[in-house]
């Protein structure tokens, strides 16, 4: 499976479409700085809007310039996080999720980079 098989693909939940995959979250299962064995796919970040996400303003706090940060945060208010265990299939360019849109949690903020 490639990242491009999932990135950008529409996400269908039990009760309708939730948007598109704008990112894939991987967990190292290790504290920062320690040697990492593998990068495990933990879940998907799903958004009804494509724009403004790669810039990262929506998942990290306190970034200037404030105008752009504010615009992106408003655009991505309704983003949802889909744990990988809820994904039933990703065939034919569509991700099928075993949950209702309303059941999906918001996107957890990313912890900041360790120095």
């Amino acid at each position: 499976m490639r990242a491009s098989d999932i990135m950008g693909k529409p996400v269908r939940c039990r009760d309708g479409e939730a948007g598109r995959v704008i990112d894939m979250r991987v967990d190292t299962d290790t504290p920062p700085g320690a040697e990492v064995a593998e990068l495990r796919l933990a879940g998907l970040v799903v958004s009804p809007r494509r724009w403004g996400s790669t810039v990262g303003y929506d998942r990290q706090d306190d970034r200037g310039p404030w105008l752009i940060w504010w615009i992106v945060h408003r655009l991505h208010r309704s983003d949802r996080y889909v744990g990988w265990d809820l994904v039933r299939s990703w065939a034919d360019g569509m991700v099928q999720v075993d949950a209702a849109v309303g059941e999906l949690p918001g996107v957890p903020a990313l912890p900041p980079r360790a120095t």
Partner: protein, 409 residues
């Protein structure tokens, strides 16, 4: 002492490097038609390039990565590809204009038709990019371009009514016989000349080539803070000379000899010689910078090894792009398209491409992943946003105005 020398060198290089064929043509052309009524655009443009130039330099010094490299990382391959195609095309147009400019300077010096100089110029431009050390290249052509100070000397020698000139600057009015659309069209061309995209690509890639670190930050900022404004003053001197000599005589600028005419009037043969050397160095330097920028942008998008800091064999695809670009530029000049017209078009299209170029710079300069604790200050962000607004307006208005005014006729 060595540090002081380094700083001075950097500033001088920035001044000499600020002026290229676009600035020479735009400022002279505008001075001859509008007097000093568009001088405010140069001032606005200088502040813009200072703000964004400092950001690009800081990005290179702190993250050790040049801007274009980071555009794809931050904004995705699709946006970056659009950006690459647009930037590359504008760059090619600018490179063509600069090669034409060098050939024109040589024509001015020797009375041998500029087209005959093109093959030699193209070869020399390529050869310098191939063999000459980055620092040496920057110093020689930057300092050589400094002889354009003859424009400032000429203006002083012409003894114009300074009060009247100042009045024109502070009370800009559209002169009789010129329409408002044309006025704004040339405002856009002047703005494009001050903030031409290749300047930031080259500045940040050059910073990485010269292995800047956080320690060079003050130096880079000094270059920005002093070099660009002095370069702007030089642009205004060119405009002033044209306003004082060409405007009253009704002479319009459609060749490089008219750009140089005020220098001859004021300083005779010596003035002309200085100006020719200055124009040659400024355009040759700019040809090197745009040539290298074509390699930087493509190489940095695809992740190739790029740069003059490694042997050519270690950056083979990069050098192939340099070679192909110079050949293409030379061939475009040899189509006998009017080099002055090509220059004007390159400025207008540069203006259109401005938001694509500068938006990523603003974003990246705020990203702590790359900048650590050296992200933009509040003040820089306010200026950055204001200017982003300005250049968005400029970008949107450029093409319609070009059609309405029939490219400034």
């Amino acid at each position: 002492m060595k540090k002081l020398l380094g700083v001075t060198l950097g500033i001088l290089t920035a001044i000499g490097g600020f002026v290229d064929i676009g600035d020479l043509v735009a400022n002279a052309l505008v001075g001859a038609r509008f007097g000093m009524a568009l001088a405010w655009v140069v001032l606005v443009g200088v502040i813009g390039i200072m703000v964004y130039g400092e950001m690009s330099a800081r990005i290179a010094a702190v993250s050790h990565r040049p801007t274009f490299d980071l555009i794809r990382e931050r904004l995705g391959p699709r946006f970056a590809l659009v950006n690459l195609l647009a930037s590359f095309l504008v760059n090619m147009l600018t490179l063509t204009a600069e090669i034409g400019g060098v050939a024109l300077a040589l024509e001015l010096a020797t009375s041998v038709n500029y087209l005959l100089w093109v093959p030699l110029v193209a070869f020399l431009v390529w050869f310098v990019m191939w063999r000459v050390k980055f620092g040496t290249m920057e110093n020689i052509f930057g300092l050589g371009g400094l002889t354009l100070i003859a424009f400032a000397v000429a203006l002083w020698k012409l003894g114009p009514d300074w009060g009247q000139l100042l009045h024109q600057v502070t009370h800009p009015t559209v002169p009789q016989g010129e329409g408002h659309p044309t006025y704004f069209y040339y405002a856009i061309a002047l703005f494009g000349a001050a903030m031409t995209p290749y300047e930031v690509f080259f500045l940040s890639s050059g910073g990485v080539e010269e292995k800047w670190t956080k320690k060079n930050l003050t130096l880079a900022r000094a270059n920005s803070a002093i070099g660009f404004p002095l370069g702007g003053l030089l642009s205004l001197a060119i405009m002033g000379c044209a306003a004082v000599v060409l405007l009253p005589a009704g002479i319009e600028v459609d060749s490089l000899s008219q750009v140089a005419l005020p220098g001859v009037v004021a300083l005779g043969k010596l003035g002309l010689a200085c100006l020719i050397i200055g124009m040659f160095c400024a355009t040759f330097g700019a040809a090197l910078e745009t040539g290298l920028s074509s390699g930087y942008t493509i190489g940095q998008y695809f992740g190739w090894q790029w740069g003059k800091y490694v042997k050519p064999r270690q950056a083979a695809r990069f050098h192939l792009v340099l070679l192909a670009s110079v050949l293409a530029g030379a061939m475009l000049v040899l189509t006998t398209a009017d080099p002055i017209k090509v220059t004007e078009y390159s400025l207008v299209f540069s203006a259109v491409a401005l938001p694509l170029t500068y938006f990523p710079v603003l974003i990246i300069a705020n990203d702590p992943d790359y900048m650590g604790d050296k992200t933009n200050s509040r003040f820089t962000n306010v200026l950055g946003l204001v200017y982003f607004g300005i250049l968005s307006v400029v970008s949107i208005a450029a093409i319609p105005l070009m059609f309405v005014t029939k490219a400034g006729l």
